[in-house]
């Protein structure tokens, strides 16, 4: 009985601790090594290669709005929905706002997904590289770091499948997280769509 009560207490403590860590307000401006904001994801310096063979990092994505998500090419269930969701999101934007946004889709499966296979995938979905950048990192280690930064959870399962959460993260021009959603749907989640529109409108009004 005593043991049971203790276990409950320990579980509660275990769940509460990270919560308090998560709500801690970030303090900006402690001896930054560059002009980037303290919490900018552009500080993640993992090299990526896109479907055209270009090398880049998240720091190169400086449009007013960038949506980053992760997927893998052999995924025939959730990933096509995620891609379709992003396609619909772009289609639903006013034409004159679209150039302010780029969607970056990063592979969870380096070594299997290649620039060539990603180019093929982009073509199959009819997604122009100007608006949709498919990318892959050089290793599992680097891929896990990007996933950690984005809050994407994944692990490899038997049979080559990768179990993963579907997450879309909206960044501003400095790489700060504006909003994020774990809901993948067509059309995209209204609240997320609204934050994208607001971010582009906010910039246009500036």
């Amino acid at each position: 009985m005593k043991t049971t009560r203790w276990i409950v207490a320990a579980l509660v403590a275990a769940m509460l601790q990270p919560l308090s860590a998560a709500v801690a307000t970030p303090v900006a401006g402690v001896t930054a090594t560059s002009a980037l904001p303290e919490d900018s994801l552009q500080r993640i310096s993992i090299p990526l290669t896109d479907q055209q063979g270009n090398r880049f990092t998240l720091a190169d994505e400086q449009r007013p709005a960038t949506i980053v998500t992760m997927f893998y090419g052999d995924c025939h269930s959730a990933c096509p929905i995620a891609i379709e969701s992003m396609k619909r999101l772009v289609d639903d934007l006013p034409a004159n706002r679209r150039t302010g946004l780029r969607v970056v889709l990063i592979s969870l499966n380096p070594g299997v997904d290649t620039p060539e296979s990603l180019a093929h995938l982009a073509m199959m979905h009819g997604l122009p590289p100007e608006q949709f950048r498919f990318a892959v990192a050089g290793s599992d280690r680097d891929t896990r770091e990007i996933a950690a930064a984005l809050g994407v959870r994944y692990r490899r399962a038997a049979g080559g499948e990768i179990n993963h959460s579907t997450r879309f993260v909206l960044l501003d021009d400095k790489g700060r997280v504006v909003s994020a959603t774990d809901k993948s749907s067509v059309p995209p989640e209204p609240a997320f769509m609204a934050s994208v529109t607001a971010q582009l409108g906010h910039v246009a009004a500036r």
Binding site: V30, A78, A149, N163, S165
Partner: protein, 250 residues
């Protein structure tokens, strides 16, 4: 007699610990094998390849030496995206011995440290595999007495933070402090969820949102391990926990 032999073994282990600290970190070989995990991944068992695991968690003294070489990871220099506010908050405290494990480190910081040692963080399966052992058996998890002993360790309040590393008897692999001292990061902390399958749109239940799901996992008698999974699954890479440190693997 048995006690005397055991005592001698402990003394030896402690001496070896002192030598190890002076000569650099000691890694012990772990043979690996087929393993019944608390986190089944499509099958009840997983195969863990042979690896080496740090015998002891990384200490404050060792982390201080790392910071001297890599000042970008000091509390005052690290960017917020890599470390939450609590990062190394108690690191300067004089109350805690230098031989105590470093805690309050983010996943990024732990990863960078291991890289500086030519190593990496262990995967969850590697950690779980080595943690299944008691002093004599490589897998003692079916022994209720052993499970109770681990829980008793967690139930003991630690005043003023964890004590020095290496105070617990080495397990059958020669690894120390897997239980009873600190929580530990693993490299794939963000891979620890239960029924995650993105096909179940909207119904996805992760440990992050549903702690009770831990109890429906494979090794459900093993509360100590389930608590570790629950904690790890709830963290972000930048989070820091005052009682959480790490050890490295190769």
């Amino acid at each position: 007699m048995k006690t005397a032999r055991r005592l001698a073994a402990i003394v030896l282990a402690l001496c070896a610990g002192a030598v190890g600290a002076a000569d650099g970190p000691v890694y012990v070989p772990i043979a690996g094998g087929v393993f019944r995990t608390a986190l089944p991944n499509g099958a009840d068992t997983v195969t863990v390849d042979a690896y080496q695991l740090r015998r002891l968690p990384v200490t404050r003294a060792e982390f201080a030496a790392f910071l001297a070489q890599h000042p970008e990871w000091r509390r005052e220099n690290v960017a917020r995206v890599f470390a939450a506010k609590g990062y190394l908050a108690d690191f300067e405290s004089r109350e805690t011995p230098a031989a105590a494990p470093v805690t309050g480190v983010s996943w990024y910081g732990a990863r960078a440290y291991c890289e500086s040692e030519g190593a990496r963080l262990p995967s969850w399966y590697e950690w779980e595999f080595a943690a299944a052992a008691d002093a004599r058996r490589r897998d003692a998890r079916d022994d209720p007495a052993w499970r109770e002993q681990i829980l008793a360790w967690y139930a003991t309040p630690t005043h003023g933070g964890p004590g020095a590393v290496g105070a617990h008897e080495a397990n059958a692999w020669g690894v120390q402090d897997m239980h009873g001292l600190i929580w530990e990061w693993v490299d794939d902390f963000n891979g620890l969820f239960v029924t995650v399958d993105s096909r179940s749109q909207g119904e996805e239940k992760t440990l992050e949102t549903c702690g009770a799901a831990a109890l429906s996992l494979g090794d459900r008698e093993n509360y100590a391990v389930l608590m570790r999974i629950a904690l790890l699954a709830s963290l972000d890479a930048r989070d820091t926990v005052g009682s959480m440190g790490f050890r490295c693997a190769k």
